[in-house]
């Protein structure tokens, strides 16, 4: 398996995340492989989103959150990365599409502009490239200067992906990116994710077991203990996790016996 030999993008060691005195995640240790799709599954409230938001330090924005343990990206602790550079290289797609109330063009150009790019020709090039990458170019090329809020939900989510791609990240974090979308829009997003994996490491939280099974290379299964703290149950290649899980709990969850 070539994917097994991919180098580690992230090395997570003993990650603990705490909201005040509530422990949301405990002792998570895991390697995330580069240029692969890793999906995170588990019952609601088991800390999947919290785990995802640890990678680009979005948890820092929430008051009273404390993080212990370490996450290394490309061999360097994420706390030692400049926060701007970190978030630039680790893009994030949210559960609900969140385009800014600006034109489609200005949405895509937002990231590059925030990092100081002013040249209009460069921006135009980036906008077109990003929209093509997100398979949205043909649908919006004539309405680039219309509001991004006027397009459909599925298109908005692809727009958000294009917006993240515009700053050329090497990781994309996706928090149930299709949960607010209809089946066809979901399929388009999945197709898009498959096309992106060549160049980008993708970590995706999903509630949809089939989605995890058919679309990802690795699967991480989280559960929560009796204190509602999330912990890692099993991690491995998706085919293994889904066909011959090591843990009984994983098997029960995958076959729909709880969660």
């Amino acid at each position: 398996m070539s994917i097994e030999q991919n180098h580690s993008k992230f090395v997570v060691k003993d990650l603990d995340v705490q909201y005040d005195d509530f422990r949301a995640l405990k002792e998570v240790t895991i390697d995330i492989r580069a240029n692969a799709i890793t999906s995170i599954i588990g019952p609601s409230g088991c800390g999947k989103s919290t785990f995802l938001r640890a990678f680009n330090r979005m948890n820092d924005l929430i008051p009273n959150v404390s993080t212990h343990g370490s996450i290394q990206k490309d061999g360097m602790d994420i706390c030692d990365h400049d926060i701007v550079e970190l978030r630039k290289s680790v893009g994030m797609i949210f559960q609900r599409p969140n385009p800014f109330p600006k034109t489609i063009f200005d949405n895509i150009a937002y990231g590059p502009r925030a990092h100081g790019l002013k040249s209009m020709t460069d921006l135009e090039e980036i906008v077109e490239r990003s929209l093509r990458q997100a398979a949205l170019w043909d649908e919006v090329k004539d309405t680039l200067h219309k509001s991004a809020l006027a397009i459909s939900g599925g298109q908005q989510q692809r727009l958000c992906i294009a917006r993240a791609l515009a700053v050329e990240p090497d990781v994309l974090l996706m928090d149930e990116p299709a949960s607010a979308l209809d089946p066809i829009a979901t399929l388009k997003i999945e197709e898009l994710i498959q096309n992106l994996r060549k160049d980008i490491t993708i970590i995706i939280v999903t509630h949809n077991m089939q989605q995890a099974a058919r679309a990802s290379d690795f699967t991480v299964f989280f559960n929560m203990d009796k204190d509602r703290a999330g912990y890692l149950v099993e991690f491995g290649e998706t085919t293994k996790v889904f066909t011959t899980p090591e843990k009984k709990l994983t098997e029960d969850y995958i076959s729909g016996r709880f969660g």
Binding site: N56, M58, L61, P63, N64, I83, V84, E85, L86, R87, K88, G91, M92, F94, R96, N98, P99, F100, P101, K102, Y110, G111, A114, H115, S147, A148, L149, A150, C160, R163, A164, V167
Partner: protein, 306 residues
Amino acid sequence: MTTEVESILSQAKNKRHLKRQKTIQTFGFILVWVCGVLAVAAVLWIIGYVLSQGLPVINLEFLTTRPAGGVSGEGGMSTTIVTTLYLVILTIVIATPLGLGAAIYLVEYAGDASRESRFIALLVKAARTGVEILAGVPSIIFGLFGFALFVSYMKLGFSLLSAALSGAALVLPTIIRTSEEALLTVPRSYREGSLSLGATKGYTIFNVVLPSALPGIVTGIVLSVGRIISETAIFWVTLGGSYHLPKSIMNSGRTMALHVFMLASETRAFDKAMGTASILIITIILLNLIINFISRRLTARVTGKK
């Protein structure tokens, strides 16, 4: 048998209950209507009365000649229109940056700062309470404050500057509170979206948060404009009352509202007071229409409908 009787009885009881409910409902409905009609009628009556008394005096000459002064109240109202405009612009220029800045601090930064230091938390709390209290302070108190501080202590005299500084203090709570509300309604997802692209907090505030909050902020500013146009007492003790056109911000002047007050209290020209009052009312009505128009346009732009 007994159960049948009981059920008939309870049905009758239900019916009576329903009928009573309906009567109460009709009564309440009438009451609400009467209140509404009375309120609107009172407003229309006041406006109608002022306009019917004032409109006959208004003509181009009245609008374009200066007041002549004296007890007869001769002349028009031209300088008061211009002075009002000057004062509005100067006050807003002073109050908006201060108010908006305070609101941005309170919404975007005060939370983090308060968590880091007890002292700052206390200051922020004091500032919030201060804003609440200031919003309810009568305008003449601001006038006295302005008179004591700007007019006499800082020796700015009765001047546009003294008046604008006092006026700014008066409208500051309005601008802070409306801007705060507007900033709070900006969804967190916009902020997260921007930060997740590596944009800094400042860039996020200026490029995503403020544009989205603009309709609310503009509404606050326009409300303040209305307040400055209509306040009288505060400017009586800070702007003076000179009917000449102010040549610099250090000159005294007279706003339209002040002109109405002076004509009515110190001259025989009650009709001209009514004429000026009519112009004042028309200005306020126009201002309200402008608020509606602007906020609808801006909201449409922000929400992407057209």
